[in-house]
Symmetry: C2
Subunit: 262 residues, 2 copies
DNA sequence: TGAGATGGTTCATATATTGAACCATTGCTT
DNA sequence: AAGCAATGGTTCAATATATGAACCATCTCA
């Protein structure tokens, strides 16, 4: 692996830790030597991708990504386009709704509209969504070409709860069902007591751009309710796709070869 | 310079080009060999920092920074906090107002609220703001320690218009005036026909976090008006700072040693 | 005050980066 | 249609660069 990949992996690791971290800790988390980790951090800091705190000497994500993200959004306004639909779906369903995007070979949460109910599901921005253990991941992979599904099906499937799908056959079956329904459902696969329904946001090209997902406490979500959420999510996904790609599709372009999911 | 720095510089260069660019062009823009540029682009793409378009094979900024930016904002909500004040200042002044942030040794625009008037100033998100040629830069540097001012004063000062400050003495004088007024003014230093007033957003620590700036067409902005804009900007900056750092200042922390401005 | 963390640094060694020259494809000109 | 010029992409020997074990300096806490 090249130095750049290692540094970006470090950045990624840092982004997944939701607190400020020390040198030794982050080096360990990335499997890097302390000296190496430090050189990476210094170079990343030079460019504003990480910040070091003056007093504690700990490191955290910097503000350069905010700038780059804004530039990206200004030219390719995925969030701006999608958020109103996310909000609407949250109001319609009454449950927490989150938007995820596929990037760098992984699916991750980029926006959350929290349910206004007291008893609700919490999801942090930046959360990674494994294909086998989340409704989002399943919806995404089901909308990908079969070769992507297959790659995911033969990959490792860590169990997060007793309900997580951990074998390829069950996974493939779930993909088939998702393709039939037009939305995916995941019952407690990631966290006990949570049920989610998700739909992929199609893009011109072979892979969808991301997903929109309703996450609800299991206790108030019966079969009919989750079906309603799923259908609403599918409708919202389709509206987002149309809003984003429908009209001025003049050479927005679609990326290629991003290494496949799985 | 290390490989990581070179790759991040490439990413930065790409972000400053407001269109999709080809391999040869970006290699030239970064002063890199084609082969090197390509390896960088491939590694950056693996992590979602750039995207390659399937049809034209050109490259553009990817969506990974959006994710990282969102995580950063979720934990350190500078934009979320500041934008309402930016908007309010736009409404109050009737002119385009932009918010800039200091990161990676440079000041750049992270948010713009456009004036609703037909004749107004346009600023793109991501625009770099040189210290010697913009009200924002001046406001920022004037709020920094003297050593930062001095470093900027002895650096190169490219002229963007006939009105750009290009010598150290005039620059230092402008810093003094800015410190007296509590806001900076720049008259056509970056672009002919535009006058701006800016104030730095203070942070606990030696350097401010960024600036808030009113940019107006020169033709309708007399001395009294620009003073009004400047005072409003200073008031807004102070409110942002208070909103962001005032209340729960419990170990938000402030970064150190980001290589100084200039 | 001393043992155990932690942040940070050094430098010989090992490894990854580099770029000139190359090929393949496309689009333009004659 | 042939030829030319540009562009994207690749190769591999030369070399600059990254690496990490061992080191030092602080800090904390008993």
């Amino acid at each position: 692996m090249g130095t750049i990949s290692k540094a970006l992996t470090l950045l990624d690791t840092l982004s997944l830790m939701d607190r400020d971290v020390g040198l030794t800790e982050i080096a360990a988390a990335c499997g890097l030597d302390k000296a190496t980790a430090r050189r990476f951090l210094v170079e990343l800091e030079r460019h504003g991708f990480v910040e070091q705190l003056a007093e504690s000497r700990k490191y955290r994500l910097g503000s350069a990504p905010v700038r780059l993200g804004r530039i990206r959004e200004a030219r390719f306004p995925f969030l701006k386009t999608a958020i109103p639909f996310v909000r609407q779906l949250m109001e319609e369903s009454g449950e927490t709704v989150h938007l995820s995007e596929f990037s760098g070979g992984r699916l991750s949460t980029v926006h959350v509209e929290d349910s206004t109910k007291a008893h609700r599901v919490f999801i942090a921005v930046g959360t990674l969504l494994p294909f086998h253990a989340t409704a989002s991941g399943l919806a995404f992979i089901a909308a990908c070409p079969d070769k992507d599904v297959e790659r995911a099906a033969i990959g490792p499937m860590p169990a997060f709860t007793d309900h997580t799908t951990t074998d390829g056959a069950a996974f493939r079956q779930a993909v088939v069902q998702t393709r039939i329904d037009g939305y995916s459902v995941n019952r407690q696969g990631m966290e006990a007591g949570v049920i989610s329904a998700s739909a992929a946001i199609a893009a011109p090209g072979s892979r969808p751009i991301g997903c929109i997902t309703v996450a609800a406490p299991l206790v108030r979500t019966d079969v009919a309710t989750i079906r309603r959420h799923g259908l609403s999510a599918a409708a919202a996904a389709s509206r987002i796709s149309e809003a984003f790609f429908g009209v001025d599709h003049k050479e927005q372009g679609t990326p290629q070869r991003g290494r496949g999911p799985g």
